[in-house]
Amino acid sequence: MTRRLLVFLGAALACGCGHLATDLVPLDLSGCPTEVGLAQDAFDCGSDSALLSCALGALRQDDRPQLRRTALGSKLCKLLAEREADPSRRERLAAEGVRLAEEALALGAEDEGAVNYFLGANLGMAVRDHAMLAFQNLSRLHETLKKAHEKAPDVDQGGPGRILAMLYLKAPPWPKGIGDVDRALELLEGLVERHPGHPLNHLFYAQALWQAEEDGARAAVDRELGEAGRLIESGRFGSCSEPWRKELGAFAAGLPRTESEKREGE
């Protein structure tokens, strides 16, 4: 049994909950313009949080089916949730993203990769601190992300494969679960080739390499972490950078010192 199952179990028991959060996060819409453009491509990591809130606020009031069958709502929720420091608000934003994606699917977007991707991304965030809920949704999460990876492998610079890989890395391993470091490595090797410009592809690849090989892959781990750090600090990822910087720092801090680091420390 592995660390991941321990964490899953501990979180599950700490939570004791059985459903995604249903109450909406209040949004500060005081500074919003009267008209907010709701084009999906208009929002990304570089988008200001206030603008994202305005867009989500507008979307909450807009019941046009042609809009609500797109991935826009769930994308806005993902972007806001990822940069949200408060766990409760993050969870509720992600849960709203799940509902908006489900609505899009119900309106005919079943085979749209982006909708499935943002559904999976939000679902992952919504359940990650509640392990029993995570267990209950593991199969759905797996299927959703596999579909997203099949239909839209390049959305968000390999987002579906990236999250799918982390699911394989974090889930309980065989024989109790779908956790499979080899599958994670295979996906992430492909992603750093195909989308080398996304820092998380490198960070997650480093994590998979370390889990699989430890010291045997230390040089490759350091190389990937270096590239992830360089991309994070490039200024191209706006408000997304901060949580990624923290994740990279936490992972790097947990690595043992290399021989050269030990010599420098003496």
Partner: protein, 280 residues
């Protein structure tokens, strides 16, 4: 699977200690070689304890856990903190039982069994027995406690550290794939892993070149001098009720534990005999 028993047992096991003092009571959990971060394990165990406290109507914070994945740290904690109850691997129990007056209290039952067998899987026809595997690579996720393997799993017939070139892995599936690709000569699997082999695409190409005798599943142990018979019995009853409790039942089902049972007299006699024989 072992760590889940460990966690389940850790939670309910604390019940037995709860009434002994006002201060938080420590349950020592040793998981030697396990790929488990102590901080994360501590958080998980604390969560378990809180649930047990709620289910058992004990005050929150009555219990605390101490976790280590290092055998040397386990020895040190047992000596310094002298916990009344602990969860250890079978190997650590056998090593430390005499020094710390440890007696097994409860065992888990899984798929109708309270014992398991270890097997060495090889490609069909490649190696007939242990002798044929001398000097060959042996992978797997259960290779950490080599002394336990030598004395108990191999019953003193071989010293795995010398007999094989050991290639431990965090994930058994990774080792089995390497075996299927010819990158390893053999893989040691426990019962749970063996039972799941049939679901792997290359399972038909594998066979067991060695099967151990039945080895009792390890559960919770008590310091016989630090606990009364009544406390151990109370703990046993609590554990027996675990899989019938609505909350506990979900956990038991989730991890395939059918029940927890009192250790029958003689259950660990053979293991103790083998352990002692191995020290000569």
């Amino acid at each position: 699977m072992k760590i889940i028993f460990v966690l389940l047992l850790a939670g309910v096991g604390s019940v037995g200690v709860a009434s002994r003092a006002q201060a938080a009571q420590t349950i020592l959990v040793c998981y030697p070689g396990g790929p488990v971060d102590a901080a994360e394990a501590g958080n998980a165990l604390s969560s378990m304890l809180r649930v047990v406290e709620r289910v058992g109507q004990w005050k929150s914070g009555t219990f605390e856990s101490a976790f280590t994945s290092r055998a040397d740290e386990c020895r040190k904690l047992l000596a310094e903190r002298k916990p009344a109850f602990a969860i250890t691997s079978l190997g650590l129990y056998l090593e430390l039982a005499a020094r710390h007056h440890l007696v097994p209290v409860v065992q888990p039952r899984i798929k109708g069994q309270t014992a398991e067998r270890y097997r060495i899987m090889v490609k069909k026809g490649a190696f007939a027995d242990l002798a044929a595997l001398q000097g060959k690579t042996l992978g797997g996720s259960v290779l950490e406690e080599t002394e336990y393997l030598r004395r108990i799993v191999f019953a003193g017939r071989i010293d795995p550290s010398r007999h094989f070139s050991l290639k431990p892995s965090r994930q058994a599936l990774r080792s089995l794939r390497a075996l299927a690709k010819g990158e390893l000569d053999a893989v040691l699997v426990n019962q749970q892993q063996y039972d799941a082999l049939g679901g792997l695409p290359f399972a038909k190409d594998l066979e067991a070149a060695f099967t151990s005798e039945a080895i009792p599943l390890m559960g919770l142990v008590a310091d016989e001098k630090a606990t009364s018979a009544g406390e151990r019995e109370r703990l046993t009853r609590a554990l027996q009720g675990m899989c019938q409790d609505s909350e506990g039942k979900k956990l038991c089902e989730l991890f395939g534990v059918e029940s927890f049972e009192p250790v029958k007299p003689g259950t660990f006699d053979t293991a103790r005999t083998l352990w002692e024989a191995g020290s000569k």
